[in-house]
């Protein structure tokens, strides 16, 4: 099926997809070998899973920002919904499903489902707006999700599940467990997220996004992005297609959130704030809008970069900021851009 799809695609597009898949696989093999033969420092090994989660976040946000052309500033909100629902479900399943990878996979599915539902509910009002107004509303929803999760209590005991808001009024019976503890988040998480599972999630999200982009719906997304009025005039249902992109993106972010959370023993809602949303947006913009391989590379590079700059201790975030500004100025400067196109051996003839 996939092969047939690839054959039907234009050669350049098919080549781009092939390069992306193979780059991810090769990188995975290299890092897996390095990690098992002890070449990686322990801090780098600890970053493998977060890098995978950020890659999925970047790819999924790229679907909304790059392909569908809507600026979203609240992507971390879906990540936190996925993280909290995924971890909570993993804790509930702990005794029934003892196989850790299966439990992780189920938790990621639960996270994806919850995030998709949230994405659908948020999408109804959000997608009626346009441009910067849409951006600010996604920001607002991200902050609302954070505030709500910060005040949400969820526990389980012999009588079943209990919820409460603001203060802990769950009144659990003896032997019950308070799983989500408001601003304290969830603690005592079993760290079952592994690098191979992260790799699988990256591959799945790439498959979902590539198949969606190169389908009839994907062409509709791009038509709407390039000219909304023309797209509407040929009978495309704008809201339906925007919603499709938004919900898919939210679901992938939810799965990434569950993966991310299960790499730590404690998570709190404040981890997924506006700055995290912005960080992911930076991955997308630096990697190139609509370019999935770019998003993946940017996510990996910018997650590792602050660690590598640790030697500069206090100046690390300052350097990060300067690198960000200089990159943006550089990539948008006509002369520098021309210089790099000349260097690129793979440039296509018609562009030259």
């Amino acid at each position: 099926m996939t092969m047939k799809r690839l054959i039907n695609l234009k050669r350049t597009e098919a080549r781009r997809i092939f390069i992306t898949y193979s780059a991810v696989v090769i990188a995975y093999v290299i890092f897996q070998v390095m990690s098992s033969s002890g070449f990686l420092s322990s801090s780098m090994r600890g970053m493998l899973v977060p890098i995978c989660a950020y890659m999925v976040m970047a790819v999924s946000l790229n679907l909304v920002v790059g392909i569908s052309g809507e600026l979203s500033l609240g992507h971390a909100g879906f990540m936190s919904i996925g993280a909290f629902s995924g971890v909570a479900s993993a804790i509930l399943m702990q005794s029934t499903i003892t196989n850790a990878p299966v439990r992780l996979a189920l938790a990621m599915i639960v996270g994806a489902i919850f995030a998709a539902i949230a994405g659908f509910l948020i999408g109804i009002p959000v997608l009626r707006l346009k441009g910067d107004y849409l951006a600010i509303v996604t920001l607002a929803f991200g902050e609302i999700i954070k505030s709500i999760l910060n005040n949400f209590y969820f526990g389980v005991d012999a009588q079943g599940l209990h919820f409460s808001m603001l203060t802990d009024t769950t009144r659990l019976l003896k032997g019950g467990r308070l799983i989500i503890r408001g601003p304290m988040g969830i603690s005592g998480i079993m760290k079952i997220a592994t690098f191979p599972m992260g790799f699988i999630l990256v591959m799945i999200s790439l498959m979902v996004v590539f198949n969606l982009v190169n389908s009839r719906s994907g062409r509709a997304f791009m038509a709407i992005r390039d000219d909304r009025i023309a797209a509407e005039s040929i009978g495309l249902d704008i809201t339906k297609y925007k919603m499709m992109a938004f919900v898919t993106s939210a679901a992938l972010a939810g799965a990434a959130g569950a993966l991310f959370a299960m790499n730590y023993s404690t998570i709190v809602a404040n981890k997924f704030d506006f700055n995290t949303s912005i960080l992911i947006l930076v991955f997308v913009v630096l990697g190139g809008q609509g370019n999935m391989l770019g998003s993946i590379i940017a996510a990996a590079a910018l997650t590792v970069l602050p660690e590598k700059l640790r030697g500069f201790s206090d100046y690390r975030m300052l350097l990060y900021a300067i690198i960000l500004i200089v990159t943006m100025l550089g990539t948008n400067n006509a002369e520098i851009r021309e210089f790099f196109t000349k260097l690129n051996p793979f440039r296509r003839k018609e562009e030259a």
């Binding site: 600010i136 929803f141 609302i144 930076v282 300052l318 943006m328 100025l329 948008n332």
Partner: protein
């Protein structure tokens, strides 16, 4: 009486938001960019004011003026070196640069002034007026904040409505190309807009930290986002809109803190924003532009 008390503190907080929102809305109106670093200019202004007053024992008002001057220079420099080269670039690139600038200012502040919170001295002391036999107390800083906000609004409206420079600003925000053809120096006008916005941010910083006296490198971030929300709320690009949006946001926030829940006040503020934008997609006073086909 408590209702009135909450209302007054809401108006006071809203006045600060309004002053910050003016900076966002003017820059958006003219350069069509979201200047995320604006919140951090507030923080820089507050720090300058803090050091002028507590280290060099200057008169607080002189401190505010120094802060205004330095922030104006900072605003112009930021515009010149980070935003001007990107005039023709896609808006997302400008947005990311603005975010980079925000990180840059925060981390420079962190290196210069450390992350230890500083206790900001109120610029006019901590006294208060007692009204209705002491049932209602209004602190001096509240009165000052509200009056400063009103003065700024009047002066700014006159400046934009009556002076030649103001006319140039309006022309640039409507059509840059046509403005240039009429002999308006568009680049200078944009720089001036940044200068005014940053100068106002310094005042907002001093007022904000007089009312809420903890000063840290991240102090500007949340008020910045809230003021940005206020600007959108009132209709981004509109100056009366920023004023109205700021005041309403302040009042809603204080009421939500008082009557609903202090932890959920931010959520309530943002929920109101969402509802307003659904009913009026261009904000309260924003012009909704009909698309031409």
């Amino acid at each position: 009486m408590t209702f009135l008390n909450f209302f007054i503190s809401g108006i006071s907080l809203g006045s600060i938001y309004a002053i910050i929102a003016l900076g966002y809305t003017m820059v958006y109106g003219i350069a069509k960019m979201l200047n995320f670093a604006h919140g951090d200019v507030i923080m820089v202004g507050a720090y300058v004011c803090f050091y002028a007053v507590s280290r060099y024992n200057l008169n607080p008002f002189l401190g505010v003026i120094i802060a205004m001057f330095l922030c104006t220079v900072l605003g112009i420099l930021v515009e010149r070196f980070a935003y001007k080269p990107l005039r023709q670039a896609p808006s997302l690139a400008v947005l990311i640069t603005a975010i980079g600038m925000s990180y840059f200012l925060q981390n420079t502040a962190l290196l210069l002034w450390s992350s230890n919170p500083k206790v900001f001295p109120s610029i006019i002391g901590r006294g208060s007026f007692k009204l209705f036999d002491g049932n209602l107390s209004v602190s001096h800083i509240t009165v000052l904040t509200i009056s400063v906000c009103i003065v700024i609004m009047i002066v700014l409206s006159l400046f934009i409505g009556k002076t030649k420079l103001g006319k140039a600003m309006r022309a640039c925000s409507e059509d840059k190309g046509a403005a240039q053809l009429m002999g308006i120096n568009v680049n200078a006008t944009i720089s001036m807009t940044f200068a005014i916005g940053s100068g106002l941010a310094a005042i907002a910083g001093a007022l904000l930290c007089s009312a809420y006296p903890t000063l840290m490198p991240t102090t500007g971030a949340l008020p910045g986002i809230k003021a940005f929300t206020a600007a959108v709320f009132g209709g981004i690009g509109s100056i009366p809109g920023a004023f109205l949006g700021g005041l309403m946001l302040g009042v809603i926030e204080i009421f939500a803190k008082a009557y609903i829940s202090s932890q959920l006040s931010d959520a309530v503020v943002f929920a109101v924003l969402i509802i307003v934008l659904l009913v009026k997609p261009a904000g309260l006073l924003g012009k909704s532009i009909q698309e031409k086909v």
